[in-house]
């Protein structure tokens, strides 16, 4: 039996300054699923995401990735499998040039020379950023930085891709192109977003995280169709947007 991509159980976490952000999160994501993680500001989405590749260590509870528990001794393997795109691309792009930045992950995994160059080129090509390869990241526009940030993770060929608000600050065309990239990948995707139509477009399943616990989990269309549920968790569809009539289920 293929193990689930992600299993999180009873996860609780408090930041060093005492703010508790997660109060017992439970979720399971199967292989190849694309799941949207919704929730108001401060719900704990980013905090949850940071646990998925062991950046934050649970105060309580467990995280399991493809059958492997996230522990100190499995971190290296886990980080190969889980690719994380950060909310702020300036946090993610720290090397002097775009090319070096995309090379950082694979080089840490031991890829060298020609092979490394090919991996970098391929990843940049997929996000359409090949022509900025030799520029410093801080000279790029925000949307360009976001795409490069996605490339740094694609270059590591993860099995599970976790994105924290990938569509914020992208222009409509870039937003659509990112959707195409995500759809073309054969990986499990967990996408944190405030962009509800985007969630509907890309993910068949959605979860609502609210006050540090999972408040709802189900097909995206059903969740977004429940106006009362959305209102309870400070979520709103854009003005004039209506859930397209449900397609007949097979």
């Amino acid at each position: 039996m293929i193990p689930n991509s992600l299993e999180v159980s009873r996860l609780a976490y408090a930041y060093p300054d005492g703010t508790q952000a997660l109060f017992g999160v439970d979720l399971t994501i199967g292989r190849g699923e694309r799941v949207a993680l919704l929730g108001p500001n401060g719900a704990g989405k980013t905090t949850l995401v940071m646990h998925l590749n062991g950046i934050l260590t649970p105060g309580h509870g467990t995280v399991t990735v493809a059958g492997t528990p996230v522990r100190r001794d499995t971190l290296k393997e886990i980080r190969q499998r889980v690719g994380l795109v950060f909310q702020d691309p300036d946090d993610q792009l720290f090397m002097p040039t775009v090319r070096d930045d995309v090379a950082f992950g694979p080089a840490n995994a031991g890829v060298r020379g020609e092979e490394l160059a090919a991996v970098v080129k391929n990843a940049l090509d997929r996000v359409g950023m090949l022509d900025v390869a030799d520029r410093p990241p801080h000279h790029l526009s925000f949307g360009q930085r976001r795409r490069v940030a996605v490339a740094t993770v694609l270059a590591m060929e993860p099995e599970i891709l976790v994105l924290d608000e990938p569509s914020s600050n992208l222009d409509p065309a870039a937003r659509r192109e990112l959707a195409e990239i995500l759809r073309s990948l054969d990986v499990t995707v967990l996408m944190v977003t405030h962009d509800l139509p985007y969630a509907l477009e890309l993910c068949e399943r959605a979860m609502i995280l609210s006050d540090g616990v999972v408040a709802a989990d189900g097909p995206t269309r059903e969740l977004l169709g429940d106006a009362e549920l959305l209102a309870r968790h400070r979520l709103e569809l854009p003005y004039g947007f209506a859930i397209p009539a449900a397609a007949e289920r097979g």
Partner: protein, 252 residues
């Protein structure tokens, strides 16, 4: 300031193409030879200036670019002018002022050497990309950790300066102007906020590095090695200077 003050001028001259570690060592060796040269050898300093001019010409760095940057010397030039006044020893009259002779020599010494040193540094910074200077330093066995720190500093300098600029704009758009020390609390609060942002950014960057497999060591991405010939070309500058120094020593 900040970004605008950066000196690098892109180009394809032979000087630009030299590996950074060669240029770095050459400039350092040149500076040491130059500093060790007795201050009475006016001719030697003339020759050094000629050598730097030749390098600038080959690298096609316009003189204006170098001159503009020389202002960094200014505070110490002022100090140099003070030395003859406060210096000890035999005194002489210049324009009615009683000046110390050793002090005058010292002032000349500082002016000449500081100017040559600044010029050499400007030439290095103008012909080498910042990232390459760091790679060069790494190849010269500067501790890896120090190079990494410098790399992060360069990468985030603009981000931090930008944040500072935004805070200033926010202050000034609400009518604030720093005029005297009573306004220090406002400036200090900005500095405090800047520190918190810098520190937290450092933590987040560290997390981003971890999530891409960092374990304390920078992976090898570039392999820049220099040929004997490139070393020879670069070291021509300090060797010529050394020849001047030795010749002068023999003659004396």
């Amino acid at each position: 300031m900040g970004v605008g003050r950066r000196l690098y001028l892109p180009g394809g001259s032979p000087v630009h193409r030299l590996p950074p570690q060669c240029k770095l060592l050459a400039v350092l060796a040149f500076a040491i030879v130059m500093v060790a040269t007795p201050r009475e050898w006016f001719w030697a300093f003339g020759l050094y200036a000629g050598m730097l001019a030749a390098v600038a010409a080959v690298a096609r760095i316009p003189p204006g670019h170098i001159l503009r940057r020389m202002v960094v010397e200014l505070p110490f030039v002022l100090f140099a002018f003070l030395i003859p006044v406060i210096g000890l020893g035999e005194r002489t009259e210049v324009l009615g002022l009683s000046l110390s002779v050793p002090g005058l020599w010292a002032a000349w010494n500082i002016l000449a050497k500081a100017t040559l040193g600044v010029t050499a540094s400007i030439l290095l910074a103008s012909t080498t990309e910042p990232r390459d200077v760091l790679v060069g330093a790494q190849r010269l066995r500067v501790p890896d950790l120090l190079v990494q720190i410098a790399m992060f500093m360069l990468r985030y300098l603009d981000v931090i300066l930008d944040e500072m600029r935004r805070m200033r704009v926010a202050r000034e758009s609400r009518g604030f102007q720093a005029r005297d020390l009573r306004h220090a609390p406002v400036i200090a609060r900005s500095a405090g906020a800047l520190f918190i942002r810098s520190y937290e950014r450092g933590e987040r960057v560290h997390l981003a590095m971890l999530s891409r497999g960092y374990s304390g060591q920078m992976p090898i991405i570039h392999d820049l090695s220099a040929t004997a010939r490139q070393w020879g070309t670069a070291l021509a500058l300090p060797l010529a200077a050394l020849a001047v120094l030795l010749l002068g020593g023999l003659a004396a």
